[in-house]
């Protein structure tokens, strides 16, 4: 409703504006015409003033011109009156013309509207026409097709009719033939009856024949029976003959029986023997088995023996390699014992030697100590000797000095002697000389003593040195002895023992290694067993054919396949959609082609349908709006034309009426619709000027239409008069 209201307001405004804009011209004209009347009067007045002035200035011409002027005045008045009349006439005409013009304008508008409508209708019609033409063409085509079909049908009908005719003819013919046949049939039946009768006769004859035949066959059987008996008899005869011959042979046979009995007894005996033999055989067999067993055992034994021999050989080789004479284990043991004994002896020897060595070492150490002592002593001696040497040397020097001194003294004495031969000092001097000689003698003695001591000491050291050397040599010899003794005693046994020990060690090592390997392998086996390995020779692994795993796998496979299919399908769809793009029609076509595609497209189709529906409804709405607008416009113009009022709705329940004859654009009446439906006049600038009419028509007569018509009349009269 709001929308319609708005439209009406808009339209009324528009129309009003147009209305307002139009009538300006005539109004102006009217004003001009009114203005011209006014000028006339002015003119007249001026003329009078001019005349007065002229009268002042041209008194002398006044009288001359007075008459002329009166005539002129009269004529002028007449002319003025005529002019006024003409002006009023022309104004009225003009008003009429304006009215007509308005009407014509309205008509033109209407016509234009009608024209647009018509053109629209025409276009619609044209479209409809085209659609109809298309339909018509389609129908024509269909019609043609139908015609052609009809023709074909007619042709077929005619052909069928012909056929029917032919068929009828045939049927008639066949009827004829059938009747002929029935006739024949009757004849044949008659013949058949005849034949039957004949057949009965023949069958009777046949029965008699059969009876005869049966009797005949009985006879034949009898004959055969007899023949057989005859043959039997002949056979009997032959048998009898043979029996007779056999009887002749009986004694022979009895002999033979006897012989056979003997044989029998013999055989029985032999059988017993045989059983005995069998037992024996069995015994032998058992023996044989035992023998075989023993043979096997023997073979095993031989194998063992061989192994043992090999072992022995190995041992022997060992013996040979070791250079010992080992042939038997006893030898070996003996040897071992011997070796052990020898070892023991050697050990004892060794011990003895080692004790000797130890004692020797001890003595050696003692000797060493002695040696060191001796060395020390020799050193001391040497020192002593050196000291004595030095002493000797000093003494010799002193001796030399003393001898020099003595020589000097002697020379002095000799000089003295010479000088003082046999003087009183000579005894003294000789005594002193003697004393000195004595001292010299003593020192010389001491010297020699010392020298002797020195030589003695030197001799001693030499002896000690010799002793030392001897001791050292002894020590060396002892050492050598010891080494040689140790080498010689353990040379053989040690080697052997070493070899054996090494072998034992090697074997021990190998055993340990093998044990470890065995453990590792066992562990590995256990692990394999734990992991589910098995021996394919002893074990087989089975499971149910339809187990959950295979079922699940199958299901999964199927799922994957179906998903792949779907994916390819969807991919195609996407591709087609991408290709299709805006082309909805081709899209539909592809949908028609591909059933899967059309399956997935219904929503878009629905949407399209809905969109179409919406469009059509919108179109209908638009049309209705247009129609309403048109109708309202029409109604409003009609109202305007008939009542002379343009009615506008300014606000809710307020109506503004503007008269056709309003003097100003804003001159309007405002009515308000009361709550009880009564209309009330609102106060406006224009309504204030209409106090009388309001009092008379509204307050007194209480009629709005009367008031309005009064206003119209008043305005009209105002416009037309003047």
């Amino acid at each position: 409703m709001d929308l319609e209201d708005d439209t009406t307001v808009l339209t009324t405004l528009k129309s009003f504006n147009t209305f307002i804009s139009r009538p300006e011209h005539p109004q102006r004209l009217m004003e001009r015409s009114a203005g011209s009347g006014f000028l006339q009067s002015q003119y007249k007045r001026s003329m009078e003033l001019l005349e007065a002035a002229e009268r002042v200035h041209t008194q002398h011409r006044y009288l001359q011109l007075d008459q002329e002027k009166k005539q002129m005045e009269l004529s002028h008045k007449r002319a003025r009156f005529e002019l006024e009349k003409a002006a009023s006439d022309s104004a009225r005409d003009f008003e009429h013309e304006v009215d007509r013009n308005q009407e014509l304008l309205g008509q033109i508008k209407k016509l234009e509207e009608k024209e647009t409508e018509v053109t629209k209708n025409l276009s619609e019609q044209v479209e409809a026409n085209r659609a109809l033409r298309m339909n018509l063409e389609g129908l024509n085509k269909k019609l043609e097709e139908r015609d052609t079909k009809l023709n074909a049908a007619n042709q077929t009908i005619t052909s069928l009719k012909d056929e029917i005719r032919e068929m009828r003819q045939r049927i008639q013919n066949q009827d004829l033939t059938i009747s002929a046949r029935t006739l024949e049939n009757q004849e044949l039946q008659e013949q058949l009856d005849l034949q039957r009768r004949k057949y009965q006769e023949v069958s009777k004859l046949c029965q008699s024949l059969q009876a005869a035949q049966s009797s005949c066959s009985e006879h034949v059987i009898k004959i055969k029976d007899l023949e057989r008996r005859l043959a039997l008899q002949e056979q009997d005869i032959v048998i009898v003959k043979s029996v007779k011959s056999e009887v002749a042979r009986v004694p022979d046979l009895e002999k033979e029986i006897k012989r056979l009995r003997d044989d029998n007894t013999f055989l029985r005996e032999s059988r017993e023997n045989c059983s005995l033999l069998k037992e024996e055989v069995e015994g032998l067999r058992r023996k044989l088995e035992r023998m075989e067993k023993t043979k096997e055992e023997l073979a095993n034994m031989e194998l063992e023996k061989e192994k043992l021999a090999e072992k022995l050989q190995a041992w022997e080789n060992l013996g040979q390699s070791t250079g010992l004479n080992i042939r038997k284990p006893e030898d070996l043991s003996r040897e071992v014992i011997q070796i052990q004994q020898r070892e023991i002896a050697l050990k004892e020897q060794n011990y003895a030697l080692s004790s000797r060595v130890r004692s020797l070492e001890r003595s050696q150490s003692e000797l060493r100590a002695e040696l060191t002592q001796q060395g020390g002593r020799t050193l001391e001696d040497q020192k002593k000797r050196e000291a004595q040497d030095s002493l000797v040397w000093r003494l010799q020097r002193r001796v030399l000095l003393l001898t020099k001194e003595r020589d000097g003294m002697r020379s002095i004495l000799e000089s003295y002697d010479t000088e003082l031969a046999s003087t009183e000092y000579s005894p003294q001097l000789s005594r002193r000389l003697r004393e000195a000689e004595d001292i010299l003698q003593k020192t010389q003695n001491h010297n020699t003593e010392m020298e002797a001591q020195l030589t003695k000491a030197q001799e001693e050291t030499g002896a000690l040195k010799l002793q030392l050397q001897r001791v050292e040599l002894e020590l060396e010899t002892i050492k050598k002895q010891q080494a040689s003794a140790a080498d010689s005693c353990s040379l053989v046994t040690k080697e052997e023992v070493n070899i054996l020990r090494q072998k034992i060690e090697d074997l021990e090592k190998e055993r340990q290694r093998l044990e470890e390997e065995n453990n590792i392998l066992e562990m590995r086996l256990e692990r394999h067993n734990l992991q589910g390995d098995y021996d394919p020779l002893k074990t087989r692994v089975v499971h149910l054919k339809m187990n959950p795993t295979s079922a699940a796998k199958q299901q999964r496979q199927q799922e994957v396949e179906s998903l792949q299919e779907e994916v390819t399908r969807l991919r195609e769809l996407v591709r087609s959609l991408q290709d299709g793009g805006m082309m909805g029609l081709s899209h539909d076509d592809s949908g028609m082609k591909n059933p899967s595609l059309s399956l997935s497209l219904p929503p878009s189709k629905e949407v399209q349908d809905l969109r179409k529906q919406m469009e059509s409804s919108e179109l209908r709405n638009q049309r209705l709006k247009e129609v309403f607008q048109k109708k309202i416009q029409e109604f409003r113009t009609v109202c305007y034309v008939l009542t002379g009022y343009q009615i506008d709705i300014t606000t809710e329940n307020q109506y503004r009426l503007t008269s056709v004859y309003a003097e100003h654009m804003e001159d309007s009446l405002l009515f308000k619709k009361g709550s009880n439906g009564t209309m009330q006049l609102m106060e406006t600038e224009f309504s204030k000027t209409l106090g009388e009419m309001v009092a008379l028509h509204l307050h007194h007569q209480k009629s709005i239409p009367a008031f309005l018509s009064a206003v119209t009349l008043d305005l009209f009269s105002r416009q037309t008069t003047v």
């Binding site: 992991q531 589910g532 692994v541 054919k545 699940a552």
Partner: protein, 202 residues
């Protein structure tokens, strides 16, 4: 049942072991989540609550296998029962639950019952099943959808029935093994163990 109270016969032993396998397989399938937990229902057996499947297909399969197994146990021709868990995405074997069965073949000849009470055997079985339940704590999580299969290691001379076929041992590449408890009915001895694929993190 009076006879079983005194001792156990070959037949009784075979039935007992087959029953153990039925419950054991069910609890492995439940614990390892091979089938959804809502398809299992709680039952009480061996004096403990156990889960049994309600899935009709699985039930049918298990009864088929267990009945055949019972027969073979009675004939003492079965060596191992293996439950293999396979990843469906990569077809890789992730777990192998192996039950080694040692049959006392002398029980086939002499029908005399053995001196072992059912109660002690059931106690042993109970502890084995408890251990199976406990293994979930250290076994790696099965993150992908998996399926299981039952392999039976039998003697070579056995005639394979119609519904059965030969299969590979389905050995795990690079596995860790854990031995579980064992139990014996004095005729059949069942050693259980589980092998699982070594994960990179471990």
């Amino acid at each position: 049942m009076t006879s079983t109270l005194k001792g156990i016969t070959l037949k009784g032993s075979a039935e007992m072991v087959a029953e153990f396998f039925s419950f054991g397989i069910n609890s492995i399938l439940y614990q390892r989540g091979i089938y959804p937990p809502e398809t299992f229902s709680r039952v009480t057996h061996y004096d403990m609550s156990l889960q049994l499947t309600t899935d009709p297909k699985l039930k049918n399969y298990l009864t088929n296998v267990v009945t055949q197994l019972k027969e073979w146990l009675f004939e003492c021709t079965v060596q191992k029962l293996v439950l293999v868990i396979t990843c469906l995405e990569t077809n890789e074997v992730l777990e192998r639950w192996q039950f080694d069965i040692e049959c006392d073949k002398s029980a086939k000849e002499s029908s005399a019952p053995r001196e072992k009470s059912i109660k002690t055997i059931q106690d042993e079985i109970r502890s084995v099943i408890r251990q199976i339940t406990a293994t979930v704590t250290f076994l790696p999580l099965l993150e992908t959808p998996c399926a299981f299969d039952l392999l039976v290691y039998t003697d070579k001379d056995l005639v394979v029935p119609d519904k059965w076929e030969e299969s590979g041992p389905q050995i795990i590449d690079q596995s860790e093994e854990v031995r579980l408890r064992s139990f014996t009915t004095s005729i059949h001895k069942v050693n259980s163990m589980v092998a699982y694929k070594k994960t990179d993190s471990a």
